[in-house]
């Protein structure tokens, strides 16, 4: 009892953080002050701006404010803080249009600053706000990871249970096929497939293409795991008994066997999603993923391939840190689910 209560609380805690992070990403339009594609050409590579509550004289202001940055005369990316004109942040401002979950159009943003842009995490080479791009990029990368993991798991579930159910020739063929897919170097396979496809695809099509590509390449591992679970479930006493009573194959699968796989599927999902998010990030970093001007955590990092960016603009590294809390929460969720599943096994 105590064990399951502790794991239950742990699971609840994980789910709360997990949900919170995903809530922020899902409502990226609300939490980010700007549209991710808006270019502010007078502020290329602006460093992150600090939000102050205390001004230079030491007075406390309830409304946080920042000092705008202006480019120095004749320089390209050297900025000076203009401390004579502090700009206060406004909350719940109406700015660029966005859609919640792609359906509900809204214009309200958590905070904004009016005419002068406020860059919480700096800006990129076109003056686009990195904070907004990170939130929206998270939408694309996480969604790609989720969909691809879902696709891989569905295929894995289908083929794994099919292989275990068929046994004999069917099983052999499917498992050898799985080994083939495991042995393929998936990155180069993706390059090759991407090169064959028509090049002028819309951003939405490109996104779906990536999801399908990385999802279909990775079904082999979950398939083998599920096959193992189904095989062992097939030999359980109650399954044999049900078969003895005349249950059909599909009834057995649906009623007895697949529920066994449920815990494996869940934990696999929690492990696979970070992997597929990384796969999408890798593809986009190399320029094969989501096209400009759409952000994704991968193409936010792709400018770091240039030496001058790597050494001069430290805030361009921050998107890599954004992934960390997500991956950690997924893995903790996976281990919590694992604990729960093992705890409930007799």
């Amino acid at each position: 009892m105590k064990g399951s209560m502790r794991s239950g609380r742990k699971l609840f805690f994980c789910l709360a953080i997990f949900g919170g992070l995903h809530f922020v990403i899902a409502f990226a339009g609300f939490f980010s002050p700007y549209d991710p594609t808006t270019q502010n050409r007078d502020w290329p590579y602006a460093p992150p701006m600090r939000i102050h509550w205390f001004d230079a004289a030491g007075h406390f202001h309830l409304r946080p404010f920042f000092y705008p940055l202006r480019i120095q005369e004749g320089a390209f990316n050297e900025y000076q803080q203009d401390t004579t004109h502090p700009i206060a942040l406004s909350f719940f401002v109406s700015d660029a249009r966005y859609r919640i979950l792609g359906i509900l159009p809204l214009r309200i943003h958590l905070f904004g600053a009016g005419e002068t842009p406020v860059f919480l995490l700096g800006s990129d080479s076109y003056g686009r706000d990195l904070f907004s791009r990170m939130l929206f990029g998270g939408q694309i990368s996480l969604l790609a990871g989720l969909l691809a993991a879902g696709l891989a798991l569905s295929f894995g579930l289908l083929i794994g249970s099919l292989a275990a159910y068929l046994s004999g020739w069917g099983d052999e063929i499917l498992m050898r096929l799985a080994e083939l897919f495991l042995a393929l170097p998936w990155l180069y396979l993706l390059f090759a497939i991407r090169a064959f496809l028509p090049l002028t695809v819309s951003p939405v099509q490109a996104f779906l293409l990536i999801v399908i590509l990385i999802g279909t390449v990775g079904w082999a591992r979950p398939a083998r795991l599920i096959r193992g679970v189904v095989l062992s479930a097939k030999e359980r006493d109650y399954v044999r008994a049900a078969r003895g009573f005349g249950a059909t194959g599909s009834y057995l699968l649906r009623r007895h066997i697949l529920p066994e796989t449920w815990s494996v599927v869940l934990t696999q999902a929690a492990i696979l999603v970070p992997q597929y998010v990384l796969a999408e990030v890798t593809l986009s970093f190399l320029g094969l993923g989501v096209p400009e001007p759409l952000p994704s955590w991968g193409n936010l990092l792709s400018s770091l391939q240039q030496y001058s960016v790597l050494t001069s603009y430290w805030w361009m590294y921050l998107p890599s840190l954004a992934m960390v809390p997500f991956f950690v929460s997924y893995l903790i969720l996976a281990s919590a689910l694992q604990e729960r599943a093992e705890g409930s096994k007799i």
Binding site: F76, R97, Y126, L199, P293, Y307, S308
Partner: protein
């Protein structure tokens, strides 16, 4: 820019005691300049031949020292007849000389190995006089036979020299005749206004070394990188000393070089020129910063690296030589579809073919932002193919329209386009049939600068309601799409003219030209303005004076501006740098940016080095 003055110096032989006295004086003088190798002047004087050297004005340097530079790619050969890549040509340029040379600073031709020349009244015959008493780097004398031999090799069809096409004037290759031991005559089929510029880079080759391989048909095996320096001879300031594959190529001073400074010291000043091979631009920057190399910018420095280097200069100075000859542009696919196109493609071709559409796009492009964000301000916006770095040929009267989104919208409206509300509330541009204007711009994925330009243009056109996608492609696939399959909508590309003279880009502007990107492979000009450009180009080829040619080329620039086959974007500045100890460092806007005056570069002693 400094002007190069020329003087011919000769020494007449006199009674033997004068010669002996002279030898004594020369010997003392030579003895004092200890770091110079022994001068062969003494030998020359003893044999009685005069040596006609070219005197260069400029800062007087002291002899000696070693200059270290970095190349990003290794040369493939030292044979001028087979060299196709830029690093090979650069090294060959340091080892060879030409008859008439283009001064990279003034962009004008001046006498080099040819001390003077005359042109016949009809412009069909050029008579050039070679300087007397000159020797190759191995000491062998030069005369008109070597000149004839060199041109024979360039023009021989079996040799397949890349220079052959340059020497075809009026459809026929030029022919040469020997008039005497130091005079040759060239005959052209048609008068050619820029004929003098043809000679730049055409090395005069030694007959005594290459005649044998030529007769045996083994020219392409001569002068590869594996041969010893003693087997190669040239008239350039340096000769080969050592080559270590993958590491360095070392050139040493040519003691027989035919130029001197205004004080009479024979050039070059440097004893050695060491070329280190570095893998990429970043490695080049690191080596320069650490002091391993003395100059940077053999291939120009990018704006980012330039800023990083200029921020904290330690013993070196960075130089911005102004815009070069590179021009970047956006163009639309105007190739003839031939009737078998899908309605989608046909519709796009209709939009692109409308000159008002192209003019609207040109008005909407934010050139100032391109210069600021792509080149960090070190560049120039362009409205035509001639950059501000080419001051002789630029049509100053061309209008420079500043960016105007309203103006662009007005033009689009007059061309039958309109706006309707898109699903997200922003206005979408639609054509007269109601189809939204959407197309893609292909760009080379390895060129970060042009990809940035394409992304900026994408945002500019979004303000007009056009939905544009940027598609980075591998460079070869890009070229294939533009030149072979012609399956693209729009493209951002760049070209670098190899000479300031408009004839260097003739293949872009002639409707039959191989680089007439927007509509390749036309049997005859498809539009009246392209026909007019063809005609004008022919005219300026025939014209004899610069003023005539400038007038015609100005008109060509106006036609290009009126029809916008290319929407010109920007040109980067030539960025270089050198240690403060390097003297006579005057980077030019034409290639080779840094080493064009290698014979005059010298190293100051530590007491003299001053920051520029």
């Amino acid at each position: 820019m400094r002007e190069i003055s020329q003087r011919i110096r000769g020494f007449r032989g006199g009674p033997p005691w004068v010669a002996a006295l002279f030898l004594l004086v020369v010997g003392l003088w030579v003895g004092n300049s200890s770091s110079q190798p022994k001068q062969p002047l003494a030998i020359l004087e003893a044999t009685g031949t005069t040596e006609e050297l070219l005197t260069l004005s400029g800062e007087i340097g002291h002899p000696g020292g070693r200059l270290v530079v970095a190349f990003r790619a290794e040369p493939k050969t030292l044979n001028p007849l087979t060299a196709g890549d830029a690093p090979s040509r650069q090294v060959i340029g340091l080892m060879q000389s030409d008859l008439i040379h283009i001064n990279r600073a003034t962009q004008l031709t001046e006498p080099a190995l040819a001390k003077s020349w005359t042109v016949s009244k009809d412009g069909l015959e050029y008579v050039l006089k070679l300087r007397e008493g000159l020797r190759f780097s191995d000491g062998h004398a030069v005369d008109a036979d070597d000149l004839l031999f060199s041109f024979q090799l360039y023009l021989d069809e079996n040799v397949h020299a890349p220079q052959r096409d340059l020497l075809i004037v009026g459809g026929k290759p030029i022919t040469l005749r020997k008039l005497d031991s130091h005079t040759i005559a060239l005959d052209l089929a048609k008068p050619y206004g820029a004929a003098e510029r043809l000679f730049d880079g055409l090395a005069i080759l030694p007959k005594h070394l290459l005649d044998g391989p030529y007769k045996q048909g083994k020219l392409d095996q001569s002068w590869t990188l594996s041969v010893a320096g003693s087997q190669i001879a040239g008239l350039g300031p340096f000769r080969l000393k050592e080559y270590v594959a993958g590491q360095r190529l070392v050139l040493e001073r040519n003691p027989y070089y035919w130029k001197e400074d205004s004080k009479g010291a024979r050039l070059p000043y440097l004893n050695e020129l060491v070329i280190l091979f570095v893998p990429n631009a970043d490695a080049e920057v690191i080596r320069f910063q650490s002091g391993e190399t003395d100059v940077i910018g053999i291939s120009k420095v990018s704006a980012d690296n330039f800023s990083a280097l200029a921020r904290q200069p330690r013993g070196y100075t960075m130089a911005d030589a102004g815009p070069g000859l590179e021009y970047n542009f956006l163009f639309f696919n105007l190739n003839d579809l031939g009737g078998k196109a899908s309605p989608d493609l046909a519709r796009k071709r209709e939009w692109f073919g409308n000159v008002t559409f192209r003019k609207a796009v040109s008005l909407a492009v934010d050139r100032a932002a391109i210069v600021r964000l792509v080149y960090q301000g070190r560049g120039a916006p362009l409205w035509g193919p001639v950059t501000p770095g080419n001051h002789r040929w630029l049509n100053e009267a061309l209008p420079h329209q500043s960016r105007s989104l309203d103006g662009a919208r007005g033009l689009l409206r007059s061309a039958g386009f309109d706006w309707k509300k898109g699903p997200d509330g922003d206005p979408l541009l639609v054509d007269s049939s109601g189809f939204p204007v959407e197309f893609s711009i292909v760009v080379s994925s390895s060129n970060a600068e042009r990809t940035k330009m394409a992304t900026l243009i994408q945002d500019d056109l979004k303000q007009l309601g056009m939905r544009v996608q940027v598609v980075p492609l591998e460079f070869r696939s890009l070229l294939d799409r533009v030149m072979q399959s012609k399956e693209y909508d729009a493209c951002v590309l760049g070209l670098v003219s190899f000479d300031a003279d408009p004839n260097s880009d003739i293949n872009v502007w002639l409707s039959s030209g191989a680089s007439h990107f927007w509509n390749l492979g036309q049997a005859k000009p498809s539009t009246p303005w392209e026909a007019e450009i063809d005609q004008l180009m022919e005219q300026q080829l025939d014209s004899r004076t610069f003023d005539q040619r400038k007038h015609i080329y100005d008109r060509i620039q106006v036609i290009i501006n009126d029809n916008q086959p290319f929407i010109f974007l920007a040109s980067p500045d030539i960025l270089t740098g050198a240690k403060n100890t390097v003297g006579n460092f005057h980077p030019a806007a034409l290639e080779p940016y840094v080493l064009w005056n290698a014979e005059q570069l010298f190293l100051r002693t530590s007491s003299e080095s001053t920051p520029r």
